[in-house]
Structure formats: C-alpha cells, structure tokens
Amino acid sequence: MKRAFPILAVVTLALLGYSAYEALVVAPTDRLQGDVYRIIYYHVPSAWTMFTFFAINFVASVIYLIRRNLKADAVAVAAAEMGVVFNTVVLVTGPLWARPVWGIWWTWDIRLTSTLVLWLIYVSYLLLRRFSSGGQMPLLAATLAVFGALDMPLVYFSIWFFRTQHPQPVVGGGGSIDPRMLHIWLLNWFAFECFGLLVFWWRYRLEMMRREVEETQELESLLETRSPR
C-alpha cells in the first residue's frame, strides 16, 4: 500500500492539473459573469468534498462509540481535519466570487451561513481534541461529532425559515446548470476527492504512528520508574 502512494500522488496531481485546465481554458465563458465565474469550479467541488469528509467523520465517530475501535478514531480526526481544510477553501472562495459578481463579500444566506456554522462546529471539535487530556478524548470527541451531526438539519431549517421571513436577493442564484459546465464540475470534484483522500490517508497513517509513539513513550517511562538505570 505504501508504495502505491507516490504513484497515486502523481496521478492525482495530473488529474488536478487537467481539471484546472478544463476549468480555466476549456469551459465556455459565462455571458453574464465573464471569466470570474470559473471560481465555482473550485468552490462547489470543494464543498462537495467537504461534505464527504464530514460524513466520514460522522460514521467513524459512531463506529467508535459502538466499538471503541481506535482506528475509527484515527479516521475520525483525519476526516475532520480534511473537512475543515475544504470548508475553509469554500468560505474563502465564496466571497472572492461574490465580490466581483454581486458586489458584496458576504451575505447571511442559507448556504454561506450554514457552511460557516459547520466550520464553527468542526473547529470546536478539533479544539476539543487538542485541549483534552487522556485516553478518553476520542470518546468525548465522538459524542461531540454526533451532536454536531444532529445539529446540522436544525441549522438548515432555522436559517431557511429565517430567510423565508426576511428574504434577501439570492446570491449565487438558483439557475439551471449548463450541461457543459456539469461535467467540468464533476471532473474537478473527482480530482479534489482523490487529492483529499490521499492527504487523508497520510493523516490517518500519521495518527496511527503518533499513537504508537505515544504508547511506547508511556511504556518507557513506566519501565524507567520501576527499574531506574
């Protein structure tokens, strides 16, 4: 498996390059928005990738709660970090697109707001992991992940109704998807997904390594206290 990594990395990079080329060069220029619209070829696939990683985190957290499998916990943290990275990309590229096209950096509409809330919840998850001491941190983090997952539908509902009561001009517009654009979206999504999974895999191995090193260190200090050299 480890040997496959460099090969997969090269393939993924090629894929990313190709999809970026499609997005920047091949895709037709939008009549209304000009070339700036090409940001969505990064923005939207990043969002989809973000959702897949948060879903992985949720499943891994539930598995951990049921079985206390430490591999599941490693998957959970790796997936959460990848999710937050892609979430950050979405939150940054969104305003960079909105500003030239609609003249505003930000609006509290349902998509942007719920993405921000998701970011906040998962950053708090990572902070909990960082500030927790001891062997029960995976358990606490997993419960938080479950709470977060339960919360998201409520977040969507509440913001949706808020916007129904206080409507705003919709930024990012519904609009129909030009079929030529769709396949470039999917292509970029596939490329980002592969890239994300590769980095995720590395993060997962790192976590397992870290755990091993920590255990060994604890064992060493135990042995030392019992029979000092």
């Binding site: 909990l128 029960q136 919360d151 409520l154 977040v155 509902f157």
Partner: protein
C-alpha cells in the same frame, strides 16, 4: 420511588439548598447579565420601535452569557469533593444525575430571567405588540435548550485544559439554531410582525433531539476517566 428518580430529586434539592445558602452562582449571573445590559445600552440608543426589534437579540445574548456562568460551575462542587467517582460506582443510572444537574441549572437561569426581565422592560421601554403569553413558551423552551446542552458540554469540558473557555466554545456553535429561534421568536412577539409559532416548534424539536441525545450519551461521558 425508583433509585433514579430518588437520585434526581435528592441531588436537585441538595444543589438548590446549597445555592440558596451561598447564592454564589445567582449573584454572579445577575451581576454579569446586568453589566451586559448596561454595556449594550451604551452601544445603542434605540427608539421604542427599534427597541422592539433589537431587544430579542440583546436579551438572549445577556441570558446566554449569564447561563455560561451558571453552567461552568455545574460540576465544580462534585469535582472538588471527588463525588463523581461515587456516582460512577453507584447503581443509580447516570441519567438521573444529569437530569438533576440540568434541572438545577434550568432553575438558576429561569430565576435569573425572571429577575432580569423587568429590568429589560424598564431600560428599553419594551411592550409586546404580539401575544405576550407566547414569551413564556419561548423562555421555557429556549432556556432548556441552552441548559441541556450546556450541562452536557460542561461534563465534557471537565477533562480539558482551559475548562471554562471550552464550555462556551463547544456550546455556542451547536446552539446556533436554538439561539436564532429564541431571538427571532422574541422579536416576532415584541414587534408583532410575524408569528412566532414556527420558531417555538423548532425550539421544541431542538429540545427533544438534544435532551434525548444527552440522556443517551451522558453515561459514556460520566464514565470517561
């Protein structure tokens, strides 16, 4: 009476009695909420019309911060006296302990709200244009929403460094839908512009979901060592 209910009642009465004697939590909460109100007053100088629009947000922010003060001390006494170990070993269900703590916090925050509301009415010249009785439902459901998650996250924060800052860090993002509902419901009732019914139903749903989740998962958190 089953062990569970007995435990809940005993723990709750003990907490209330202790608090009644020292009034530590309630005093700090009250003062904190008052400070928030006054500081906000310096930022806004609203007309009566404006007051009704923004009061919802102000009130709930003040109550939220004050609730955090109460929540942070939820488990402090138990931790100081190693009582949690005793609870872990006892046959009583962990849920009963959680319920007692949550109800205790609920009563503290509710008392705070009852004391602060006249102050808000005076400072901002508030008068509800919509059905004021609905405000009770909003207060009840909203306070429980904050308290049930807050008590749970307070238990999680026990095992973290910077315990006091961890609680709001965890609580605030998850509470966003409930906070939005509370604020919007209050504003709707005060201004009379919209019906608060959807928000009240949303709060009820939020309460049900998270009460069940907390009861379900608390045992795991309590036993985490």
């Amino acid at each position: 009476m089953s062990t569970g209910t007995l435990l809940t009642r005993t723990t709750l009465m003990k907490d209330l009695r202790l608090e009644w004697r020292s009034k530590d939590a309630i005093n700090s909460m009250l003062f904190f909420a008052l400070l928030v109100v006054v500081i906000f007053s310096f930022s806004f100088d609203p007309t009566a019309e404006e007051s009704r629009r923004i009061a919802g947000g102000l009130v709930w922010v003040a109550f939220l911060f004050a609730a955090v003060v109460a929540l942070n001390q939820t488990w402090a006494r138990e931790l100081r006296n190693q009582v949690l170990d005793a609870y872990r070993v006892s046959p009583a269900p962990a849920n009963s302990l959680f319920l007692a703590k949550a109800l205790g916090n609920f009563i503290f925050v509710a008392v705070l709200e009852a004391l602060m509301t006249p102050l808000f009415i005076v400072f901002y010249n508030l008068r509800a244009v919509g059905p004021a009785y609905q405000l009770f439902a909003v207060a009840l459901l909203g306070t429980w929403a904050l308290v049930v998650n807050g008590t749970f996250f307070a238990a999680i924060s026990l095992r973290t460094r910077s315990r006091e800052i961890m609680l709001p860090l965890l609580l605030f993002p998850i509470s966003i839908p409930a906070l939005l509902a509370m604020v919007e419901a209050t504003s709707s009732i005060l201004t009379g512009e919209f019906s608060a019914k959807f928000w009240i139903v949303l709060l009820a749903a939020y309460d049900v979901v998270f009460t069940m989740a907390s009861l379900f998962l608390f045992e795991l958190v309590l036993n985490a060592e």
